[in-house]
Amino acid sequence: MPRMIAAADERVGGTRVAVIEVKDLTRTFRSSKGLFRRKAREVEAVRGIDFSVERGELFGLLGPNGAGKTTTIKMLITLLLPTTGRASVLGYDVVAQPREVRRRVGYVFGGDRGLYDRLSGLDNLRYFAELYAVPPREQRTRIHELLELVGLTGREKERVEGYSRGMRQRLHIARGLLHRPEVLFLDEPSIGIDPVGARELRATVKALVEHGTTVLLTTHYMFEADELCDRIAVIAGGEIVSSGTPDDLKQRVSSGPVVEVEVYGVLGGVVDRVQALVGVRSVVVEERGQAQVLLVHVEPGAEVTQSVMSCLEDARVGRVVTREPTLEDAYIELVGTP
């Protein structure tokens, strides 16, 4: 019987012990090119990250593409070996005790892949129920429960190749929950789902957390993270640049308001001039259809709208709005690019 690092679901000395614990975790990918003179290349995808997730918590990892979110999840579910550092899930070390970890976690990823297209939804679930050692007597009931939960009842006998993206995603979720995992890893689960489907997905995730499942979620959608996550870590360039509750992040990064100026054709140098204004913390430009939107993050108490307008010179200006910062503003400022 392998020794557990700690009793993950208990309090030790009055302190709650983490269900997921990550300490100084790094992952470097090495590749080489060329037939005779092979050139080696190294990419540091994750650079010494630390975080922990408590039982029953919904923890979000936010970051741009290539930030290291999926690599982190893959190390935690034992699909990748860390280069250095240490991680444990439910007290089991992800390197030394992979099978113990695999028994207790579920993994759902976004997109079209990860299913047997030529089989029906029902056959997919039957197969994964076998793989995850769901007792044969329970399989039928469990599969029907999950089909009901994800709204695929009545469509389960159709081949997956005929499913819409939303249906596939819902089937992914059912698959990930077959063995009642204590910890669920959701890697961009709402990618490609329509708004109604995404709302249903958020409701499902909330219900799982209410029933005690610990969830680690990665997403690009700020409102999703804001609505669902108890705590968030923002990851960029393989490092955690900030973490806390969604409200903490909003407060910590942009304690002042945001001025949004719709402009048709931002001229060169405008961003630098606005950035140089007294009271401006940062400026980013977002493309919105024909227009660009200058997002000017302002120091608390500063009034910069008139100065910003004067920097725009002859540019055609549309709507100008001043509003309180959102999680997305915080994220953009932390990550550094719109």
Binding site: F29, R30, K74, I77, T78, L79, L80, L81, R99, R102, R103, Y107, F109, G111, R113, G114, L115, Y116, D117, R118, L119, D123, R126, Y127, F128, E130, L131, Y132, A133, P136, R159, R175
Partner: protein, 255 residues
């Protein structure tokens, strides 16, 4: 464990049976082998037991081809559709998931045995006179298992390589030759024979021929079974190293 093997085997057969293209190719492929072999033998003036031997050899070629080329290709397909990671992330030992996959391919290949013999009988007029039908069927079953286990070892040994499918394709024809599917082992250079003895299809092929011609099959069957078990054990040992290597090199996914 038996249930897992049976369910996986059945679902893999289901996957394979649902593509019209794969199905058609699977139906036609053994007939091309058989036609080529029968024409070659007929052109060289062979008749009687020599033609029966050719028919049996061609049929086992089909079983091997179905297994070798698809065993490593299937892993590539699993990798491409994103299911390889899910198989590895499951708590069930990986070899237990791969064995029924390769066994299902060998089962599909077993069809080629029937198709080749019928093709030989009705198109080329070869008299299929099997002296010991029970031993013949038993030998065929054991050969299917032996070839399935060799495919299993091949698949497990190449799981960490993204281009593993090429290895299966490269081994297809050498095994036809080395295992004596078409020509007697005695015609091969002496140094090749020890390699042939380490390959289960050599013994399976010999057992099927002996059964067809009424000779004893026990030694060949036992050798084929022993090698199949050895491949299984070796595959279990190798899988741990190969999976760790794939986790280190991040080759379970395409990107």
């Amino acid at each position: 464990m038996l249930r897992l093997v049976l369910v996986t085997w059945w679902l893999q057969l289901k996957i394979r049976s649902r593509s019209a293209f794969d199905g058609l190719l699977g139906l036609l492929w053994p007939l091309f082998f058989a036609t080529t072999v029968f024409l070659m033998y007929r052109a060289s003036g062979a008749e009687g037991s020599a033609l029966l031997s050719a028919a049996v050899g061609a049929s086992v070629m089909g079983i091997w081809s179905a297994t070798s080329t698809t065993a490593s290709f299937t892993l590539q397909q699993e990798r491409r559709q994103g299911t390889l990671e899910l198989l590895v992330a499951a708590p069930t030992p990986f070899p237990l998931l791969i064995f029924p996959v390769t066994l299902s391919m060998a089962t599909v290949g077993a069809y080629s045995m029937v198709a080749t013999l019928l093709w030989g009988r009705f198109v080329f007029g070869i008299e299929i006179a099997v002296a010991n039908p029970v031993a013949f069927v038993l030998s065929t079953l054991v050969t299917v298992v032996g070839i399935g286990m060799l495919g299993f070892l091949l698949a497990i040994s190449t799981v960490r390589y993204r281009s593993a499918w090429a290895i299966g394709a490269a081994l297809e024809i050498p095994v036809w030759l080395i295992c004596g599917f078409l020509i007697p082992l005695d015609l091969l250079p002496a140094w090749v024979r020890p390699i042939a003895w380490l390959l289960a299809p050599t013994w399976g092929m010999s057992a099927i021929r002996d059964a067809a011609e009424g000779r004893g099959v026990l030694v060949d069957l036992l050798a084929c079974l022993a090698l199949a078990i050895a491949y299984g054990l070796l595959g279990m040992l190798v899988s741990r190293y190969m999976l760790n290597s794939a986790r280190r090199r991040a080759t379970l996914a395409l990107s």
